[in-house]
Amino acid sequence: MNASHRQAEWRSILRYKDYYRIMGLERDASQDEVKKAYRRLARKYHPDVSDSPDAEQLFKDLGEAYAVLKDPEKRAAYDELGANWKAGQEFKPPPDWDAGFEFSGRGFEAGGPDAFSDFFEGLFGGAGSHGFAGGRTRFDGPGQDHHAKVLISLRDAYRGATRSISLRTPEVDPSGHVINRTRQLNVKIPIGVRKGQRIRLAGQGAPGIGSGRAGDLYLDIDFEPHPLYRVDDKDVYLDLPLTPWEAALGSTIKIPTPSGSVDLKIPAGTRNGKKLRLSNRGIPGNPAGHLYVIAQLTVPPADNEKAKELYNRMRDELAYNPRKHFEG
């Protein structure tokens, strides 16, 4: 990357990144401490391990910080900027700050075209973009795979749906700049999809480099929480509040299900917590899941004279002892 290209990039606003702070290190940390901090934080922030919603960004920042601090040449150039910058501060590098530094070698292994920040690109050029310093070496390679999380409703899993997805795709323009384009895709969500499943759209990831094939797009399916239903794999659970007389005498109750309401027969003598199974009314599939209705007995309040009288009569006439098993 030549000097005029660098100057052009600096016209856009760059935000200073404090690589030492990202890695929790002092500015005089040894190379060994840099390596140790990276290993420790990589285990902590790895997006496949951490359940933090920020894990991906934290891991990217860490990778970028490590790419600079592990490399004595890059670290020296970064240190040259001085310690008085604050993270996020608008950043303009001093003229010719990098004179005398030659960047070489392969960049961060996991780096894809959008792996590193504009700040990094402004300082070190495209070293992070394609794995090679300064974009001097051209090679062909497959485009990066993209991953997107798609939130669907339980109803979508029963009926299928089409979802619109916005993707930020980095592309290299004819002059070699990496620019981000937003693409809008409409994707069919098939009937019977379950939480945690993935949909693969071949060739819908980032474009390939040179004559390489385009990456793939993977959609991770997650369900929006539902006020009535809980989902466990392909089975669906519904809590059904019952009055004592409905549970004791039995009754037929109209209940909602994700595929429409049905009449459910409650057998006489239904106990609290009893599971009633409606076969094949869970998430559709081959085989389909089941819908489980959990009986939840409720106690009518004794908040008026009539109710109190009824409870008193039950106490006197039913001779019911729910704690019989306490007695030897």
Partner: protein, 102 residues
């Protein structure tokens, strides 16, 4: 801009990939996938490498294994252990969520 709705492939256990497909999609070597099978990370059906059929969920598992191995500098036994523990944590979390909401 593509406005037509795209249909992807649902990576469930009804769709199968050959060893060659897995290598192509995950951009990895045959021997590496074989090693994942030997570690018990992937469970293809069918006898013999040429006849192996990997269920759709294997693709995600293989890619995850690859990222863990590269990013955390692990050997394959370490990767297999991490994947087992992650699966266990996930199932415990799911049980906890169910217990907390019921």
């Amino acid at each position: 801009m593509n406005r037509q709705a795209l249909t992807g492939i649902l990576l469930d256990d009804q769709v199968f990939y050959s060893l060659k497909d897995v290598c192509h999609v995950c951009e990895c070597q045959t021997e590496w996938v074989v090693a994942l099978v030997e570690q018990g990370v992937l469970h293809p059906s069918g006898g013999g490498r040429q006849a192996w059929q990997f269920p759709g969920s294997s693709l995600h598992m293989a890619m995850k294994a690859r990222r863990l191995q590269q990013d955390l500098n692990l050997n394959l036994s370490g990767v297999a252990l991490v994947l087992d523990l992650l699966e266990e944590i996930e199932s415990l979390r799911a049980r906890l969520d169910t217990a907390l909401t019921s």
